[in-house]
Amino acid sequence: MTTAIPARRTRPGRSADGARAVNYVWLLPAFVVSVAVIYFCVGYTAWISLQDWDGISPDPMFIAFKNYARMFADPVFWDSLQHTVIFFVVAFVAQAVLGFVFAVLLHSKVRLAVVYKVIVFVPVVIAPATMAPIFRVMYTPTGQFNDLLGAVGLGFLKQAWLGQGNTALAVILSIAVWSGTGISFILYYAAIGQLDPEMIEAARLDGAGNVRILWSVIWPNLRGTTVAIAMLTAIGSLKLFDIPQLVTAGGPNYATEFLGTLIYRQSVPLNAVGYASALSMMLLVLAVAAAIILRATGRERSTTCLRPGACPRRSCCSWSPRSWCCRSCTRSWRWCRSRWRAPAGTTTRPCWRSPSCRSSSATARSSPSA
């Protein structure tokens, strides 16, 4: 069943153009600020990237795309991209798994749960500048990490963790995971809290155990959160600067060089601001591309309902060609109106009509079951 959308009312004597003009006025401050602060800077950086400039001299030299040619021929640039990919994959998997596990554990009845939540989240609020010196001391050959290895009988693993390329990257990853897991934990924790308890109850009635519920009910319903964490980690990986700069300064032998540290190295110590700007433009392109790809591939898809009415908040259980599915209500009503078609023989109401999708699922119970 579809419902006609009432035409927007306008006051007598007021033209539609005038109303639109008012809207533009309200947009203006944000537009001006974003143009001045963001887009002007992007344009200026793009312009500088075509110059040979040290950042101070009053007469930069226009060299067209030579900085970009230099970038593609620079092995350190390709190394930094490789490190970024490794960082993204490892950090995303580790943070998602740890965050999910912590969130699930702390949703169960755990004593002193508040204390554990604080412990997991505190690293997020500690400034990298504060923790970096501590990690640097901890991972030195005479540091506490090697002492710990010795104390637990793993003395043969003692080494200069920050002094070797392969271990230095692992150290950077460990610090990043330690400091970032709190974010994924809090996102998963909030998302799990939004799940409809009826859905889990329904799964239990259907005979699902804890692991099955986690894997087949809770985890699929957190897809949106996982995509959000992936997007945050991808952009964070591209922008990564503080931890490698403060802990290893991109070394040894560029083993922990990321785009952020490379841009800094070229811009500040080497005064190659033109080249650093070309790297910055590449960083922007990669960040936008990563966001678009993740958004496109991570669009929330329908998940199978165990039964009608088992969908979480902000989604509705509707009939797809083969089964009942939870569909997200996050789309705008315009989109829903243009795309939604009632499946033949169903009485499901489109989510855009329901202030809360629960009401739509109530009506769905009367429709044919899968």
Partner: protein, 454 residues
Amino acid sequence: MSFRAISKRTVRTAAALAVAGLLAAGLAACSGSSGSQGSAQKGDLTWWGWTPDQAVAENAITEFNKKYPDIHITFKKIQDATYAAALRPALASSHGPDVFNLLVGGTGATVKTYGVDAVDLTPSMKKLRGADWKNGLFATGVKDFTVGGQLKAAPIGKVAAGMMWINLDLFNQFGLKPPKTLDEWKSVCKTFREHNVGCFREGVDPAGFEQDTLHTIANSVQPGFYEKAIAGKAKWSDPAMVQTLTIWKNLQSDGILDPGALGIQQYPDVNNAFLSGQVAMVQMGTWYRQYTRTDTLKAALQGAGVSDTSKMITMVPIPFPDVAGKGHTIAAFSDPDYALAVNKKSKHIAAAETFATWLGATKAGQQVIANNLDEDPVLAGITPDYGKVPLVNTKEQTPYLDWLSKYTSNVTEARLANISGTLDQALLDSASTTLGAKATPEQAAQTLQSQSGQ
């Protein structure tokens, strides 16, 4: 919620005003303001630098205020690794430091790049010292900080490198003598390691201190080669450089260089470890002499988080061991160290010039520099007044400090002055790839030649 209708004209007017206002604000922010001379006897100044230490700078300011009580100076020390990053935007704004340190070469805040924001100090020097103002000043310093015929910064002191610094207390404790050859050095380090004491520690990091070690080793292999290579008169791929990198690499495998050199920084890691007695030997230059002073060492230890009650180390300079075994005298190399530049946008240019020229070109200012012991003065005839310098262990340290004065008195080789940023990075890469076994000494030397920009 509803809004009153607004005419298109009103909307356009509002938009135009908003954009115009924003542009005006932006232009005002971008344009900054030009400086003004102000009084030469009065003003509140800020001074930024990566050196000297806070206590040393305050000594200088205290002495300066005895003659110029109405010029108040606040010194802000910024780590050398981040100094240039802080300075560039500060100079671009109208709120930058009035006086700032500049380097002569290498990477970072070099006079060639940052000198454009500095006032020409030549007229001030002429006013202070007369038409022949250069007479008696360190000629290399004046030349190196002169760009386009303008003196962009007043050289304050000079530093030399090529020597080692040792913790004499540790050597005495284990009955050891300072090593003179590679074999002696290995033996000394073996003893220290048996007692869980670090031996020779060095941080291979972008600050570039490992270049001093490479330069010293090269001077042991073939005197003069390194300087020629910097000048482009010899190839970095020369066998002398290959041997230099081989010896450098072997310092690690022979147990001389402490493990983890690629993962630590000379400042603060190595510095703190040495001053707190955890390490027996480091390679630092004459600037390290400041820590033979009780007050300066105490301040540095406090900065490193070491307890006030800890024993202060007796540190002394020694010649670098003859690592090539060829019996060459290993020459030191020297540069003008930092120089004081006056910001073109300062509101107190005259007062800032008074301070920069006082510290760099008057007897009183240079005596302060000499007595601080972190720099050699650039004004001829000034030497440290050891009667006024509180040394940690006067009896033990004085003979070594006298040797250091002689060792660095007739230095001809430059340290970093002629090294470009590109070459600086290439030297760091050669040192780190060799030590990290990413390249053989031969490969690293070839890469160094190709990336040197020469």
